[in-house]
């Protein structure tokens, strides 16, 4: 099978937040690189303060005022999005790259009907009107399994349940016919069974439309269910990236290993592995490897030198001194290399 170019390629992305009039710089995203192929689901895993949401906002150019992309590139369909103006990005956002956020009530306008909100992207980007617009909206609502779309679309968001609202948000996201959908913890506020339905829906849609999905989450179970590849973020950096099976079978980075060990597994009463301390404050990152204060297998070197990316032959990349020099490590690509 010919290897096609990735749909989205992020290289050495750096996003900083400048607060207190520039006096304080927070390195929210520190040299993040990953590629997203067509039809693929990439999981972006991390806890609070890991930089995963900022990475997504950087990709679509929706950073808050204090944030700025200071380096790297985001190449989508052959163009670098970091170099585009807001006007140009507006044409891409919602149409070629769609975003689904965590709280559906924040994404939906309580004053407008469902029809109006789902129709909006098709109205502006594809210039549909009248009957074809109505049909398109019904088609989209059916695609996200909303029953009786003809009269549902006249309703308002507050008349629907959380699960349905999240599906409407999904319909809006798909309305423009995107190639990439970024979903930022879309199921966190949903009941467990509703979450399962929603995830199944996303998988079906992906199979039907071939859209590439970036799924941002802190839940490794979702990763196991949904993702083809995984990038684990910590302290603003990707500390491990691997195909999903390799990540679960053979996690290389101590943080990944600890994370996997700390999640309770159904049917097992074994004591959970717990990581000491708490996630770091991005404004005050530890020296060297950001994880070293919590790392159970820390080397003296970890405190002073920040490790680079180490590539392994099974397709994984890990940023850890322990990985260097193992017989599996392939070419060493340090931070200076490219």
């Amino acid at each position: 099978m010919a290897r096609r170019d990735p749909v989205l390629q992020v290289a050495d992305l750096q996003t900083h937040f400048f607060t207190f009039g520039g006096a304080r710089v927070v390195k929210a995203v520190d040299r993040v690189s990953f590629a997203l192929n067509e039809g693929e689901t990439l999981g972006l895993v991390g806890e609070s303060g890991s930089g995963k949401t900022t990475t997504c906002l950087s990709i679509v150019g929706l950073l808050p005022r204090a944030g700025r992309i200071v380096g790297g590139s985001v190449v989508f369909e052959g163009e670098d999005l970091t170099r585009k103006s807001q006007r140009e990005l507006r044409r891409i956002r919602g149409r070629r790259i769609a975003v689904i956020l965590q709280d559906p009530m924040a994404s939906l306008n309580p004053l407008f009907t469902i029809f109006r909100q789902v129709a909006e992207p098709a109205f502006f980007h594809q210039h549909l009107r009248g009957r074809s617009l109505r049909e398109r909206v019904q088609h989209l609502l059916r695609a996200v399994r909303i029953p009786s779309p003809e009269w549902r679309m006249r309703e308002y968001p507050h008349q629907m349940s959380g699960g349905m609202r999240q599906r409407i948000v999904g319909a809006i996201a798909l309305a423009g016919g995107p190639r990439v959908v970024i979903a930022d913890e879309p199921t966190t506020n949903l009941d467990v069974t509703i979450q399962a339905q929603y995830l199944d829906l996303l998988k079906d849609i992906q199979r039907e439309t071939g859209v590439a999905l970036i799924f941002v989450t802190h839940n490794l179970g979702i990763v196991a269910k949904m993702c083809d590849r995984v990038a684990v973020m910590y302290g603003g950096k990707i500390i491990e990236q691997a195909p999903v099976r390799e990540l679960f079978n053979n996690p290389r980075h101590p943080y990944t290993r600890a994370l996997l060990g700390s999640v309770p597994k159904l049917g097992s009463k074994e004591p959970l592995y717990s990581i000491a301390g708490q996630p770091p404050n991005l404004a005050n990152l530890p020296s060297g490897c950001s994880f070293h204060p919590r790392c159970p297998v820390m080397l003296p070197r970890c405190e002073t030198e920040e490790p680079g990316d180490f590539h392994l032959c099974d397709g994984s990349v890990a940023r850890c001194w322990l990985v260097e020099g193992t017989h599996e490590a392939g070419a060493h690509r340090g931070r200076t290399g490219s």
Binding site: H218, A224, R245, L266, K269, S274, I275
Partner: protein, 322 residues
């Protein structure tokens, strides 16, 4: 068998709701509609269910924040309804709660030592020195160094705040702690710390827990027995191992099917149930789960099943099983 710490029988809580044009119509939201369970000393009972199942209302009833419409709650054999004065205080001393949100559980203008000391000041006559000693002892129990006592809550992370909340819950000789989704708002890497801490405290102190949660894996891990709630009733209840080995009620099975895998190669279950939890204002007839049940039979829409003993211990309310 020792006397249960808490025993709930036929507990009901119905909320009146006015509707209609001029508010003339009146219906009832049957938030809790006939619930029975018991918690033994040193044991954890897990209460699991989705929104609208009644688990939060149940906890409010136990904490005397609401009064039951019917049924009884007995603490160490004594009925707690109508408790007054020193008996009420004795109950409050022995039953505490830890809430979900670590950022609003601690009084922002009080120091940690005062927060933890509060139950002691309310219930005991201990001197300031004795209280301070107790506060330091309890801080150590939850894995915090005693010198954090003079600090204010905003200087702590979410996980540490939950520990402080647990410390406060343990300050007096607590017998039962109601834990309402205590780790749901915490970072993943911190959840394990708190769960381990809770389990260890139970082993050391023999305190009982009512653990309310929505994540099956977490609830199953920490609980000895699990009760599954749906629309105000318990549909199945059994020992944690037995339930995980063989979930019987279709709703329990749906919860298990909806639970996320722990490995990408884990067998993906067959399609999960469709639809959503119906509104509590218009309950289905017969078995409340029948509209969504893949195994529904004609009798399910007519007759409400009662809890019957199930294989492997526990009870289940389903016509499939007699």
């Amino acid at each position: 068998m020792a006397e249960p710490v808490l025993e709930v029988r036929g507990l009901k809580k119905h909320f009146p709701v006015r509707h209609g044009l001029l508010g003339r119509g009146k219906t009832w939201v049957r938030a809790v509609d006939g619930v029975d369970f018991a918690i033994q000393p040193g044991e954890t009972l897990g209460l699991i269910g989705e929104s609208g199942c009644g688990k939060t209302t149940t906890s409010k009833l136990i904490l005397l924040q609401e009064t039951p419409t019917a049924g009884s709650i007995a603490f160490e054999g004594r009925d707690i309804s109508g408790l007054r004065g020193s008996e009420l205080m004795a109950y409050r001393r022995a039953v505490q709660v830890v809430f979900q949100d670590p950022f609003s559980s601690l009084s922002p203008r009080m120091r940690v030592e005062d927060i933890i000391a509060e139950p002691l000041e309310i219930h005991t006559d201990l001197s300031r020195g004795a209280i301070r000693e107790r506060v330091e002892a309890v801080l150590e129990l939850v894995g915090l160094p005693p010198d954090v006592a003079p600090l204010f809550p905003h200087e702590f992370s979410g996980g540490q705040r939950q520990r402080i909340a647990i410390a406060r819950a343990l300050a007096t000789d607590t017998r039962l702690i109601v834990l309402d989704e205590p780790v749901s708002a915490l970072d993943v890497s911190v959840r394990a710390q708190i769960i381990n801490q809770l389990e260890q405290l139970q082993r050391t102190l023999g305190v009982s827990y009512l653990f309310i949660g929505h994540d099956l894996a977490t609830v199953a891990h920490i609980s000895h027995r699990i009760a599954v709630m749906y629309l105000g009733k318990i549909v199945e209840s059994a020992e944690s191992d037995a339930l995980c080995a063989r979930p019987m009620h279709p709703y329990t099975r749906a919860l298990f099917a909806a639970a996320l895998p722990s490995h990408p190669d884990d067998p993906q279950p067959e399609r999960t149930i469709a639809g959503e939890v119906p509104s509590a204002l218009s309950l289905p007839s017969g078995c409340r789960f029948h509209p969504r049940c893949p195994a529904a039979m004609p009798v399910c829409s007519e007759v409400e099943p009662t809890l019957q003993p199930r294989d492997g211990g526990g009870v289940v309310a389903c016509h499939l099983y007699g």
